[in-house]
Symmetry: C2
């Protein structure tokens, strides 16, 4: 970390002069003033990627939901709670040379989430009506003007991991998808390790299971190499 910090200061890293946007953590979608829908993302993978990008010399915008892992030092931290807030923060942080969408953004919010706590009434169960959230990855990957030259998404899957992730890459219009299996028995969601498959237009790379820091460094090396050859 000291070497990385010195490299960053000396401007000698492979991402020096680049701006990298990283989203991280879960989002929380309110149901009422006290209840919300959350997910088990700890923010560990996103924080590791932001840290690795910073160590590689990049200026990093780190847009984070309410994660349990603290944000790394040396990055611009923008804290949000909901998916809608995250989209606004991402748009405000552009332009970027690369954008990595590691946040576990809620697909849905609760329609008409109220200012009044839902009351329990005998024999009555309230309804929670969901509505679609903005699709941040697809929105940014589909920008006509200002699209980051490299857009990276994540796919957290529990079944048919590679097929689902490859389909997601096409649907979202992003360049790379990092797919992982978050089935409960893998211990990845909320854990310290990750087993990732990188899916790009020209092929599939299965990376060995490793610490989230190692996965982050590998991704950042790939990003730096890609930007060096294309932009």
């Amino acid at each position: 970390e000291i070497v990385a910090a010195i490299e960053a200061r000396l401007g000698s890293g492979p991402l020096t002069g680049r701006h990298v946007l990283v989203t991280s953590g879960p989002t929380h979608e309110p149901i009422d003033p006290v209840r919300y829908i959350a997910n088990r993302s700890s923010g560990a993978q996103g924080a590791a990627i932001a840290s690795a990008a910073r160590a590689a010399g990049a200026r990093v915008s780190f847009v984070t939901g309410p994660a349990t892992v603290p944000p790394p030092t040396g990055v611009d931290v923008i804290r949000v709670e909901t998916a809608a807030e995250m989209l606004r923060a991402v748009e405000a942080a552009l332009p970027a040379d690369a954008a990595v969408f590691a946040a576990a953004v809620a697909d849905w919010h609760v329609e008409g989430a109220g200012d009044t706590k839902m009351k329990k009434r005998p024999g009555e169960v309230p309804q929670i009506r969901l509505a679609e959230n903005p699709d941040i990855l697809r929105r940014i990957a589909g920008l006509d003007a200002g699209r980051p030259p490299l857009v990276v998404g994540f796919a957290a899957e529990t079944e048919n991991v590679e097929e689902n992730a490859a389909a997601k890459r096409l649907r979202k219009g992003c360049d790379w998808i990092l797919a992982n299996d978050v089935s409960a028995d893998t211990g990845i969601m909320g854990g310290s390790e990750n087993a990732v498959t990188l899916i790009a237009q020209d092929g599939v790379e299965r990376w060995p299971r490793a610490g989230k820091d190692a996965v982050a460094r590998r991704l950042v090396d790939r990003i730096a190499a890609h930007l060096a050859t294309t932009a």
Copy 2:
């Protein structure tokens, strides 16, 4: 705290020889392997009550959901996630001389919460069907055999605080209700202070807004006085 620890060791506290059960924190109710319904309880008030009871010499069973505030030292910590798990842990911890139900237990769980992650499909929004959780406070307050001599509940309200809380006391069959206003603008839910009204059969006491530690000590003093005169 040192004085309290010494008092506890010397067996000189007003709750020495007593067993106090305290529940604390939110519960998390799974929607699928990665999503869940949570609430904004930090567990701060419950932890403060457990700590104060311990300092007063009690043996404390501390049944806690996934709180952000760490459990106090010197108590028996039983960690749970869902309301159903909390009920089982509470039943296993009985008998007790007093039971304080400070946890913000979810009123509902998600029916048929699955092993497979809900997939986002275009134009389709999944349904979340809620079902009632066991009512831990009412269950314990209504026990024929083994009911703790003093059962204390909390009522987190956003409107008509005292009326709603008084009705809750009768409905649940508990002895005391500590009512508080958790409207967002009070900053109490997740904050460090609390403004509590104690509702008992023989009247209502409005306690001044104070730190959660001070509220806890006041409650523990009242519990000790009550047990001294009745049991």
